[in-house]
Symmetry: C2
């Protein structure tokens, strides 16, 4: 048969996306269908069970490793060759959508089902993986499962991470939901190559009217938690000049990192996503504020520059207001450049299928950036409606899902048949 003409069945793909999206479903006031499936919660377990069931239905050999990563393998004709791997994650943030991560995993299963239905065999095995705690919404750092998979963090350290919400230990939660598997982690050997299909999670493809984003690399990420301690005092009786207000300092930092990102321009972004006041009462100057700062850039040198400006800002504000600022690194990943030949292959394949393409860096972190440490890697992006992600209104048109999964199919097929 003409392998180049092989296409996925988008209705079957959408059916799986909808079914998985029902687990932890969040319904918005305007018909939005989002998802709250935080890592290692009961909802995550239910989602894992569903996907593992599908893997078994497709005849995959399912492996669960010690950090809960799940890999389903379809055998190839040559058992001596390393598998080609695809995949992503199925955990979500608290106000997440149905596509982020899930598309990469279910797109991989759809590729396998297409090959099965058409009786197509490959030289190399094809592996479809989902990695534990990619979002980092509950356990930091993010991309934890794939990081441990490639040996970037020790298993012991990862199992001891505590949840940001309820303080639970990652290893305990993993055992509780039944996903502390027997396969050693980090993995004993590297895949032949890794390709991840993912939604863009930003507005660029839609703005440019382009269907396929050819991902050249991933921005570096720097996450810092600040604990700012000042002096709680009465809001009515404490003159402004005598205040040591951690809320004011947090505000200046929030505005200050925005200004740093604006001034640096380029790919630099800066976000304050978490901020908590203590005691949080209308007529009390807070005693303590905890907040996070998320800095990202595709250039390591520029990211370090942003970090230095942020650190100086904190020092100056602490001195001016008479507060103390404790800084803790939650995550730090250098920018990643994907393999040039893998990038070319994604681009050429998409163009051969008749899709418009553009090369772009990823603003978000992805499991692919971890796999890039051990094998040639790239990613395929499809558009996000209105640029929304980490939002229950997250959406990608069916035609774009078809396009992305077809590119994934053709790239995997070619990789799986090379020597």
């Amino acid at each position: 048969m003409d392998l180049d003409a092989l296409r996925i069945d988008v209705d079957r793909l959408v059916g799986r996306l909808d079914a998985l999206g029902e687990i932890g479903a969040v319904h918005g006031p305007n018909g939005e269908r989002g998802c709250a499936r935080l890592a290692l919660t009961d909802a995550d377990r239910d989602g894992r069970d569903l996907v593992v069931g599908w893997m078994h239905d497709l005849g995959l050999d399912v492996h669960v490793d010690a950090i809960g990563n799940v890999v389903g393998v379809r055998a190839g004709d040559d058992p001596t060759l390393a598998p080609v791997m695809t995949g992503s994650h199925i955990d979500t943030v608290r106000t997440g959508g149905r596509f982020d991560g899930n598309l990469g995993v279910l797109g991989g299963l759809e590729v396998v089902e297409t090959l099965e239905r058409h009786g197509v065999r490959t030289r190399r095995p094809i592996a479809v993986a989902f990695f534990t705690d990619e979002e980092g919404a509950r356990f930091q750092p993010d991309m934890l499962g794939s990081l441990v998979y490639v040996g970037g963090m020790s298993l012991e350290e990862a199992l001891d991470v505590r949840a940001a919400d309820d303080g639970a230990r990652l290893g305990d939660e993993l055992a509780r939901i039944g996903y502390a598997g027997p396969v050693p982690c980090p993995a004993a050997s590297a895949p032949h190559a890794f390709v991840e299909l993912h939604i863009e999670q930003g507005p660029v493809l839609e703005d440019e009217g382009v269907t396929i984003g050819v991902v050249t690399g991933v921005q570096g990420i720097s996450w810092t938690e600040l604990t700012i301690t000042g002096q709680s005092a009465h809001a009515g009786t404490t003159p402004m000049r005598l205040r040591r207000d951690p809320g004011y300092v947090a505000a200046e930092i929030t505005a200050g990192v925005r200004a740093i990102a604006r001034q640096m321009a380029g790919t630099q972004v800066a976000t304050v996503g978490r901020l908590e006041y203590v005691p949080n009462l209308v007529n009390v100057v807070p005693s303590r504020v905890t907040m996070t700062v998320d800095l990202r850039n595709t250039d390591e040198h520029l990211l370090q520059q942003a970090e230095h400006r942020f650190a100086s800002l904190c020092e100056r504000l602490a001195a001016d207001e008479g507060v103390t600022i404790e800084r803790r690194t939650l995550a730090r990943f250098e920018p990643v450049e994907f393999d040039a030949r893998m990038i070319d292959r994604v681009e050429a394949t998409a163009q051969r299928l008749g899709h418009s393409t553009m090369r772009m860096p990823s603003g978000a972190g992805h499991d692919a950036q971890m796999l890039a440490r051990v094998c040639p890697t790239s990613m395929i992006f499809v558009p996000s409606a209105n640029g929304l992600s980490h939002n229950i209104a997250e959406h990608t048109d069916t035609a774009d899902l078809q396009a992305g999964a077809d590119v994934l199919l053709q790239v995997l097929l070619a990789l799986a048949n090379e020597g």
Copy 2:
């Protein structure tokens, strides 16, 4: 006997302050002994029960009204004359001290006990009151009990107020703790006069080395709750120029109201005491931020000016960032000027007792400002160590407690013996 020579027993007063302070006690790492007795909680009930027990021990006739205000009355010789009233509140903020409010109530009981022990009778009755929910930490507005007492808010509206913490209805909580009393509220008749002993809650008396603050009035208070709604989005993939970030707007408002207060100088203060992010995750631009702004000034015209500048700031920021800002008034009280003859009387009495004095406005709101609507009113301030209040390190030296309660005794005695 020489009534001018009569003095209170400060050990007895401190004993009562300590005993009441044990209810809802919060112990700090450096030996601080604070208090968390939020209005209409179980702790508030226990505190009320203790104070009502003391009132009965002192032979007072105890009245509980429909909003939970408690008034203990010591009879006078002439039953046709209106009572002289003193008192304050016994609820605290979550990180409160043992003196704020409590001193005014227990100072009043100490005056009664001093008169009892010395067999001193007065022409007019002397009433010692504590008013419900002065702090406003749980139910807004603050000074709710005394506001209803003087007819400034309807009983029905007050009973329907919902708690900021758990959403409980004030009327239900009042009934639950057994303090929905039978006495009608607002009060049927006004006291002859009202005097409130209170800690300064600020640093001025200590800075100036003065023992007694003669309070000339109370700053106007304007409390606003803002709900800022923007667009939740992925922290890594959303370019800065496309963000509609309510956290950034909250930060600019926090810094902006500080700037307004600094520029206006004088008695103007501005505080952001409560601030909450939704969804509050490190890698998500928040969708919504709720915050409060507390503005105070002794001059109504200047307070309105601050409010207008604050409102303009909100409008400008909402337009610039593309967010919506919903504003809700939680409390609004005009500045209060106390009765000139009552102020003179407090000052003259303190000076006759040999204490240094200074006239000052109150930065905090007090029940006295509500009573000032219906009868001649003033207040007596004593120093707060390091200016701290709404803080578990709140402290007033024993000598200052003695001075303040002695002034209260002599002022009440003179008022209670006039025709």
